[in-house]
Every structure is written in structure tokens, then in C-alpha cells.
């Protein structure tokens, strides 16, 4: 499903070049639950962004089902993300002026699908039925992340990329989010989680360790 070939990324800054990732070659098959572990600054988020077709690598290629995602146009890449990838971020990234239901439906604008009922079902499954018409500032951190989870699941992606999804949550909410990632995985979806926590690693079928921009295990 996903083939990373000799992937590298160097950020150019005023202070000089920073090599965030180099020589990463991986193959991730459909249905895997992959935990990407490593200390801060090891390149986890950079790796996820490059897999998501959002950060062009300095070296190497990212192939999704045989297609080099950086060889296609920006518009095609946007369509690719809308149809194939769901995101869960540590900082939730909910749109502040939309209520919870609308935040889930934000994904529809890009995919072209319209299914309000599915969004309501997802929110009910995630225990947010009473919060559908509330805006993000009124939600707790756990509720925000569950809303973000519903948004990631709404367009029925093939791959969910989760960047430290439990980093800002209490253990109960963290467990809830991980449970839904596991459900998605059990239903045949592929999950890649960048994490520090042991809980996500326990659920993973495969763990990749990054250190100073390279895969060390």
C-alpha cells in the first residue's frame, strides 16, 4: 500500500540546514497498525506529513498504491488526501467558528460526499451526540479529540495518520481515542500513529523507532 523509498527531508533555516529525516525506506501494508516512536525532534511528524502528501521530501519518493504522490499535481494531491487519508492531530485543529457537527462535515467540502446522517452516527458512537451543536471552545480536550476522530473517520479513509493523538488527553479519553483507532484498524483500515505513549505501541502490529531522522529499529 505504502512504499517509502530512501526518504529524506532537510529544512533550510536562517541558522543553517536542519536534516530532519534521511534514508528512510519502509513498506507499510494495508491493514497494519504502525506506531512510530522516538524522542522529540526525531522526525516523527515530518515522516507523517510526507506520507500525507503535505510535505515534499528533499530526497526519495512516497508511493501510495504505486502512485508517487509528489509526482502528481497539487490539485490531484488534495483530492488524494480527501479520499484516502484521515488526520488526527495532537492539537485537535478544530475550526473554532463551526460547531462539532459542522467540523465533521468540513471534510465533505473537499471530498464532494454529502452524508450528514453518517456524521451524526459517528458523533453518537463517539459519545458526542449532546455536543453536536456546540463550538470547540465549549468542549473539553477529550471531546475535542473525539470530534477530530469523527472528522477523520467521516470520509471513510483508507489510512489514518495520527500525530500524538493522546498527548493532551487524560487516560480515560486517551483510551477512548485509541479504542476507535483500533476499531478502524479491525475494520480493515491502516493506521500510522506517531506516539511517545506505551498504550498506542501495545495496540500496534508494528513499531518503527526513529532516532535523529533515521529508522533505528
Amino acid at each position: 500500500m505504502l512504499v517509502l523509498n530512501n526518504l529524506g527531508k532537510t529544512y533550510r533555516t536562517r541558522a543553517g540546514n536542519v536534516r530532519a529525516l534521511h534514508g528512510v525506506s519502509l513498506q507499510i501494508d494495508k491493514g497494519q497498525f504502525v506506531a512510530v516512536c522516538g524522542p522529540s525532534g526525531s522526525g516523527k511528524t515530518t515522516l507523517l506529513m510526507m506520507i500525507a502528501a503535505m510535505l515534499r521530501p528533499s530526497d526519495g519518493t512516497v508511493q501510495f498504491d504505486g502512485t508517487d504522490v509528489y509526482a502528481i499535481s497539487g490539485r490531484e494531491r488534495a483530492r488524494f488526501r480527501a479520499h484516502n487519508i484521515g488526520f488526527v492531530f495532537q492539537m485537535f485543529h478544530l475550526v473554532p467558528y463551526l460547531n462539532v457537527l459542522e467540523n465533521v462535515l468540513v471534510a465533505q467540502g473537499a471530498s464532494g460526499r454529502t452524508d450528514r446522517g453518517r456524521a451524526e452516527d459517528l458523533l453518537q458512537r463517539l459519545g458526542l451526540q449532546h455536543r453536536m451543536h456546540h463550538r470547540p471552545p465549549a468542549l473539553s480536550a477529550g471531546e475535542k479529540q473525539r470530534a477530530a476522530m469523527a472528522r477523520a473517520l467521516w470520509n471513510q479513509p483508507r489510512l489514518i495518520l495520527a500525530d500524538e493523538p493522546t498527548g493532551n488527553l487524560d487516560p480515560q479519553n486517551a483510551q477512548c481515542v485509541l479504542m476507535h483507532l483500533r476499531e478502524f484498524h479491525r475494520a480493515g483500515g491502516t493506521v500510522i500513529v506517531a506516539t511517545h505513549g506505551p498504550a498506542a505501541q501495545e495496540l500496534a502490529t508494528r513499531t518503527i523507532h526513529l532516532r535523529e531522522g533515521t529508522v533505528c529499529a
Partner: protein, 381 residues
């Protein structure tokens, strides 16, 4: 989630930004509408005053004594009558209401009078207007007050003037000027009586140069001189012209200020749009991550600019019209307040131009939004 719905929701969420942006458009529109409303009224006022002044441009023969004409009011030389046709045939000129006359002094029943033959008034192409003076039919005569009083002339009476029979159409009321000593008949009758077939002594006109830059008489001489090199042009200046000049000066000051005001408002909108883009960096990154392409991001910001422009156009039009109606008469020296009125066409212009203006002012911030690196914005905590 339709992008336009997001635009609407975001505007209500960030009310201060939206209100300030609408205020900027409102300022630009209000200033423009107030200026154009008052300026149009000012033009109407000037035109009205110029018409009430009567003909203020005189075209006489090149060899006529201009000094004598100014003293006596009658040119001492004639010119071909077809000069009128030549002037009337010109397009894009700055005069109107062309009236050819043949004037001559004569003695009638022992009294020195002025006989004036008047041709039907003509207008240059595309400038059809109501005649400013009465038309005299052949065989008819209008008798000046002093002549009628002194010689006991009555309306309907038939007079013999220079061997020609003319019926008195009307005895004119007292004017206190040369007109009291005039008998006015058709140009053909006057040419016959004065034995000047095919000749005229002058062409009167009204200039349309109240708002022109520079001295109008120079422009008129240039225009008329090109058509009639064998004629000279005199312009009668009066208080009305001075007022027109004053209004023109105010007009020019506002016309100079307008681009600066509009440009300042454009910068204001641009800064607000840039602040809005900066505040929404992570939202932009998220939308890009969810698959929104550059066009959708553009629509998010330019759609907002269009709504801001439309709101500003409506409010600005109302405000500008109110300001124009309230202060226009004083600023532009418009004496008749009834002359200033709201201009519906400006609303249509405002509704088209204000959104366009807001969009142009928001283009650079929108381009910045489109080029944001979504990965970088989503990484920030």
C-alpha cells in the same frame, strides 16, 4: 460543508475584523458617493445658471470691430449664413444652442431701432435641447417695449418695415436694455429688409465648459477657429461663471482627494485581510490537509471580500447620499437645494465596484494564505 457557508460563519465569529473591513469599504464608497452626488448636482446647478444667463458665446466676423460690438451690442460686419451649418455639423464640441442672427440699425417711423433677424435655434449632433429663445415665424415681428410704447404699436397690427409687411406677434415687456429698442423678425425677413441676403452678423451659443480645466474661451476659440477661421469668438463672463469656477475648484480638490481616500481604505482592507489570514493559519493548514485545494482557500478569503464589499456598498451608499444631500449644497455652493438628489445609478456602481475593490485589496493576503505550508502550520503548537 460548503465554503460559502464557512465564509458566512467565520464572519460572524470574527465580528470585529468583519465590521472594520466593512467600515473601510463604507468609507471609500461613502466618500465617492457623496462626492459624485454633490458633483452631479453642482453640474446641474451650473448648467441651470448658465442657461438663465442666456447666450454667453458670440461668434462674429473676423473683420468686425470687437470693441464696437461690446459697446453697441451689434457687430458692424456680416459673415455667410452657412457658418451656422458648419458649426452645427461639428461633433464633440463644447458649445450648444446655436442661434444665428442678423442685426442692423435702421430708422423706422422716425425712431432709431435695431432690427434683429433670428434663425431657428439649432444644436450640434447628439445635443438636442429645448430652444432657449422664442422662434419667429416668417412674416411675424416681436416689438420691443420702448418702440411699442413710443409708436403705439399694438399686437396683431401689420407693420410695414423696410418695404415688407410684418404682423406684430407680441409687444415685449420692458427689459431695461437694448431689447426694448429691438424689432425681432425671422432671419429671412431681416436679410430682405436690410438687403443682406445669405448673411448674418453673428452666431450666439452657450458654452458647456463650466467644469473644464483652463480658460474656456481658449478652448472655444480653438474649437471654433478650426471650423470657422474667418470668425472671432467672444465670451461673456459673469457672476455665474465665477461661481462655476468656484465649484470647479472644490470639484477638483475632491477629485484629487478621492484616489488617496480610496487607496487608504484599500490598504486598510488589505491589512485586515492579512491579519485574518494570520489568525487562520492553522485552519488553512487543516483544510489543506483535508483536501481543500488552492481554489477553495481563495474562495474562503475572496468570498469574504465580496460579502464585505456588498455590505460596504449598501451602507456606504446610504451614508454617502446622506452626506451629499446634507453638506453638498454648502460645499459646492449649490444654491437651490432641490437640485441635489440621490443618484440610483451610483448604487449600481457601488454594488459592482465595491466588491471588486475589496477583492483586489485582499488579493495579496489571499495569495499568502494559498502559499502557506500546511505541514508547517499544523506542526505549530
Amino acid at each position: 460543508m460548503v465554503v460559502i457557508r464557512m465564509v458566512w460563519k467565520e464572519m460572524w465569529h470574527r465580528k470585529v475584523n468583519w465590521v472594520l473591513a466593512v467600515l473601510a469599504v463604507t468609507t471609500a464608497v461613502a466618500f465617492s458617493v457623496a462626492f459624485f452626488t454633490a458633483a452631479k448636482a453642482s453640474e446641474r446647478e451650473t448648467a441651470r445658471l448658465m442657461l438663465s444667463m442666456g447666450y454667453n458665446v458670440h461668434v462674429i466676423a473676423k473683420d468686425a470691430d470687437a470693441g464696437g460690438f461690446l459697446i453697441n451690442g451689434i457687430p458692424d460686419k456680416t459673415m455667410p449664413a452657412d457658418y451656422l451649418d458648419k458649426l452645427a455639423a461639428q461633433q464633440g464640441i463644447s458649445y450648444n444652442h446655436l442661434l444665428a442672427t442678423l442685426e442692423g440699425k435702421m430708422n423706422w417711423r422716425g425712431m432709431d431701432i435695431v432690427l434683429t433677424g433670428i434663425a431657428p435655434e439649432v444644436c450640434p449632433p447628439g445635443q438636442k435641447k429645448q430652444p432657449m429663445t422664442f422662434q419667429v415665424e416668417p412674416g411675424m415681428v416681436y416689438v420691443g417695449y420702448r418702440i411699442a410704447e413710443s409708436l403705439r404699436v399694438k399686437e396683431g397690427e401689420t407693420l410695414s418695415v423696410g418695404g415688407r409687411e410684418l404682423k406684430v406677434k407680441k409687444c415685449l415687456s420692458e427689459s431695461g436694455g437694448l431689447d426694448d429698442m429691438r424689432m425681432q423678425c425671422s432671419l429671412g425677413d431681416a436679410q430682405e429688409i436690410l438687403n443682406q441676403p445669405g448673411r448674418i452678423t453673428g452666431i450666439k451659443a452657450v458654452d458647456c465648459l463650466c467644469f473644464a480645466k483652463g480658460d474656456p474661451v481658449v478652448t472655444l476659440r480653438k474649437e471654433i477657429g478650426a471650423v470657422l477661421p474667418e470668425a472671432q469668438v467672444l465670451q461673456v463672463k459673469a457672476i455665474a461663471s465665477a461661481r462655476a469656477r468656484q465649484r470647479q475648484m472644490v470639484h477638483n480638490i475632491f477629485a484629487l482627494m478621492l484616489p488617496f481616500v480610496v487607496a487608504a481604505c484599500g490598504v486598510w482592507i488589505g491589512v485586515l485581510a492579512a491579519m485574518n489570514v494570520r489568525d487562520r493559519q492553522q485552519e488553512i493548514g487543516l483544510l489543506r490537509a483535508l483536501g481543500y485545494d488552492a481554489r477553495a482557500i481563495c474562495l474562503l478569503f475572496l468570498g469574504k471580500a465580496v460579502l464585505v464589499g456588498l455590505a460596504g456598498a449598501g451602507v456606504g451608499f446610504l451614508l454617502g447620499t446622506s452626506l451629499g444631500l446634507t453638506y453638498g449644497p454648502d460645499v459646492f455652493e449649490i444654491t437651490a437645494k432641490a437640485m441635489i438628489r440621490w443618484e440610483p445609478s451610483l448604487l449600481a456602481f457601488a454594488c459592482i465596484l465595491a466588491p471588486l475593490f475589496a477583492v483586489v485589496a485582499s488579493v495579496i493576503p489571499t495569495m499568502i494564505a494559498v502559499t502557506y505550508d500546511p505541514a508547517a502550520t499544523l506542526r505549530e503548537e
